[in-house]
């Protein structure tokens, strides 16, 4: 039935459909012999470069300028990694002034998809723009949260989303099937507790739509706080208002008139969402008691849900096979020492799955039992010198700016440079996994500049960030 697979086919399967390639086993993904993994990664990288070099205009320009025509080693791709800010390198007025045709032209340069014939001239909001792209193209563009006042847009296609969630499913059994003995875990699903809207187009809110079949099996297992859709415009507006307020420039903020008209709706929706949270939690506890659930949230959301439950005397509410996943840092807040115990006691789980995630890549890089974040095998990590951007040796332990090449995408360029400072090890982890791994402390460069007690008369972005923190402290 199966033809003899060529090596090329192996490489493509590894990169494009890793879940299948690894037999749907997260264990297998992380136990490929080091040399073999390196060979697979290099071969897949060369394949992606060959296919995309002349198909993505921004990449073509970069490759032309740096005169790179072939990839001989992993490090050769470093000059071609995109800055993460590439995905927000459009002028903000395109959103404010409804210049969606120009915005589409900008996006077209970042994908193999042909957007030239998509008519978005009638769009008067981010929602309507993304709606047209959803319906008329194979892309399901996702955006970032926009908390800094601007949103990144990343053009990911339906098949890439599909493979991303197929692969993500494998990691859901990290604790319940640590050795990957259970294969595909057919018909084994979780009930997703989703304290958000059912629909949305941010990186995280695309999940119920794009990952449902792999993660939940059916709509019945999705327990969303609110039906309907989280408006991308509402998120954009909230981020803009917050940033402008912190800068003391609220009065100068130019707001799209269509958005201004919807502002009251946004505020009402936000109120309703907050109001319905306690009732939602009551329902979840009532309906899903003893069931296998999956709860995915930042530590502070997990903590407040658990605290509310414990205050009502609820402990060990769900099945021990349940999964709690968290990612993201403290964002400057002080994390209470007991947060993990609080969550475990309420949920009834023994462990919390921690992951290093970013919107721009298809992998959720999970922490092992030795406290190290392991990159999924289709992610090639790099550590760059924070000063000059040169790549540091792929050996031993290296501290610097994290960069990655995500081998899964075939319609956009998977290489990009993050804003995170990491300490990565390229040696085998004590846990036995063969993939590269990170120390648990990860900081954003943008949050650590300035040093100690340096005073200047200049109103910098740093001062603005301090003002943002100050504001949010006062508002919460």
């Amino acid at each position: 039935m199966t033809a003899v697979r060529t090596v090329d086919a192996d490489v493509r399967a590894f990169a494009s459909t890793p879940a299948e390639f690894f037999g749907h086993s997260w264990y297998a993904m992380h136990h490929v012999p080091v040399d073999e993994l390196r060979h697979l990664q290099l071969s897949a990288l060369r394949m992606r470069f060959a296919e995309l070099r002349d198909a993505i205009p921004v990449l073509t320009t970069m490759a032309d300028e740096s005169a790179i025509s072939a990839i001989e080693s992993l490090d050769d791709v470093v000059p071609l990694l995109f800055q993460h800010s590439v995905y927000k390198s459009y002028p903000i007025s395109l959103l404010v002034k409804n210049k969606f045709t120009a915005l589409t032209r900008w996006l077209d340069r970042l994908t193999t998809a042909d957007l030239r014939n998509v008519d978005v001239s009638g769009c008067d909001s981010i929602d309507s723009w993304l709606e047209i792209l959803d319906t008329e193209t194979d892309l399901r563009v996702m955006h970032t949260s926009g908390t800094s006042g601007i949103m990144s847009f990343l053009p990911r296609s339906t098949s890439e989303w599909d493979q991303m969630y197929a692969a993500l499913r494998c990691g859901l059994f990290q604790f319940s099937d640590p050795l990957g003995a259970g294969g595909r875990h057919d018909n084994e699903y979780f009930n997703l507790i989703w304290p958000l809207y059912r629909h949305g187009r941010s990186a995280i809110m695309r999940m119920p739509e794009m990952g449902l079949t792999h993660l939940l099996g059916s709509e019945d297992r999705l327990h969303a706080l609110r039906p309907g859709r989280m408006s991308s415009d509402a998120m954009f507006l909230a981020g803009r208002l917050r940033a402008a307020q912190a800068r003391g420039e609220l009065d100068q903020l130019e707001i799209n008139p269509a958005l201004r008209a919807r502002r009251a709706d946004f505020e009402r929706e936000q109120r309703e969402m907050a109001d319905s949270m306690p009732r939602f939690l009551d329902h979840v506890v009532e309906d899903l008691r003893g069931e296998r659930v999956w709860l995915l949230a930042t530590w502070n959301v997990l903590y407040s849900i658990a605290k509310a439950g414990l205050d009502k005397g609820l402990t060990n509410v769900f099945s021990t096979e349940s999964l709690v996943t968290t990612g993201g840092g403290a964002k400057g807040a002080v994390i209470p020492d007991d947060w993990q115990d609080t969550v475990k006691t309420f949920m009834g789980v023994e462990q919390i799955q921690r992951s290093y995630v970013m919107s721009e890549i298809t992998a959720m890089n999970k922490m092992c039992e030795h406290g190290r974040y392991h990159f999924e095998p289709w992610i090639i990590p790099f550590v760059l010198d924070p000063g000059d951007g040169r790549v540091l040796p792929r050996e031993g332990e290296q501290t610097g700016r994290a960069a990655v090449f995500d081998l899964m995408p075939e319609s956009y360029w998977g290489g990009f440079i993050t804003g995170d400072e990491v300490t990565a090890s390229f040696e085998e982890c004590r846990c036995g996994r063969t993939t590269a791994h990170l120390a648990p402390t990860i900081e954003r460069f943008s949050e650590k500049q300035g040093g100690d007690d340096k005073i200047t008369c200049l109103a910098s972005e740093e001062a603005h960030r301090a003002a943002l923190d100050f504001l949010s402290e006062r508002l919460t």
Binding site: T61, Q252, P386, D452, D453, T456, A463
Partner: protein, 489 residues
Amino acid sequence: MTGLLDTRLPEVVVPAVIRGELVSHDLVAFGGRGGSAHFRTPDPNRIVDRLALRDPGRLRDVQQLKFDEIIAYLEELGRHLLLDTNPHLQEALDHSTQWSDMTTPLVRSSFEQLPALFTPDAVHELADATIGIPYLEGWVPRPMADGRTASIRAMGARTVHVIAGNSPLIAALSIIRNAVARSDAVIKTPSNDPLTALAIARTMADVAPGHPITRHLSVAYWKGGDTEVEAKLYQPRYVEKIIAWGGFASVTHVLRYVQPGLELISLDPKRSATIIGPQAFESAHTVADVARRLATDIGALNQLGCVNARVVYVASGTDDAGLDRLGALGEAVYQQLQRLPESVSTKAKWFDPELRASLDALRASPEFYRVIGGRDGEGAIIVSQLDEPVEFQRSLSGRVANLVPVDDPVDAVPSVNSSTQTIGIYPESLKDSLRDVLGLHGAQRLVSLGYAADPNVALPQDAIEPMRRMVKWIVDERCIPDENQRSTP
């Protein structure tokens, strides 16, 4: 070279000077993280009690000085602030490599400018323009309409100066202001320049030990926001005025101590802008002139100051021809930036990697942005193709500016607000026509293009007159019933 070693081992000792006396015992280590200074300095908790001037009556000695004596003192001090012969300044220059954001040639040229601030002409102008020498010298009578005679005097106060460290001139200016105001000052130094104020204070102790002006200056370092130290010092019974420069953090630290009797003079963090009229494009000569002036405003002090040009609105027009004009100006400015002498500007000591990333990202959007240079940390010009600045405009540094095309110079006005300090303008006629509206929007200093980074310290600063607020305005009212038009109760 030793500087590099010292960043690992805090062998550098930054003493304190308390009223002319050098203090270098009970040392504790500071800094060393995030590229900041690493040094040992007297434990601030042990010296804070001596920093406070408990008895305000002890200001009498400076109060009794004649203005000419102050002039003479500062003149003599200025003569000793020559880098070639002053060991304290030499030491400050040596160590600046490890903690200043400026490069050594720039610190050197800043130090070379110090003596000029202390000349009799400069001090006289500062005193006369900001307060008026008669008010500093004694009681100035003024007959009032109601018949009384008021006598007004500007008297010294007990102050703390929380200074910024992006230019050594700030330390010198603070010391001169304190002497002219006949006040008592504690200078809290910043970690990016812990030595300039100290070097001047040590020179004062060498040149005029025991002089009242020497004895009313203390210089110390503690970490800004150290509540243990600050709560002890920042009390109305010890300090009447705190002059706080710069950063959001340094101002918010101080805010919690403000109460009746303790005034905050806040020199807030600022940014500056530039507006260039269509006249720039009248001829090849004007383009070259504007390019040279603009490059100076961008590059001077390595763009570390709040006065430097960053976002530059240019009335080039926003059509294709206008964008071509703007692009050509951008090229010319970039070329001029590279030609600035090293006493004015050098390649940045540290080029912000986040900014480098943002520049690289813009190269992906040629329809909206042209990026000239910037690959080597040497500075860059971003030429917007739409009439809006880049999203990361507040992070422009290391000699990176953003030229923004507008159809009319007036289009730049809405971007001006109360944090806009300086606006460099070309030509003069445009300044005349815009100055009222710019002032209303919050702009604080309008200056001919090319002179943004060359402020005159005798003029108002940040839309206030700090000198007038640093002194106490005391009134003596002579009210004799018969002479008063109104009857007294």
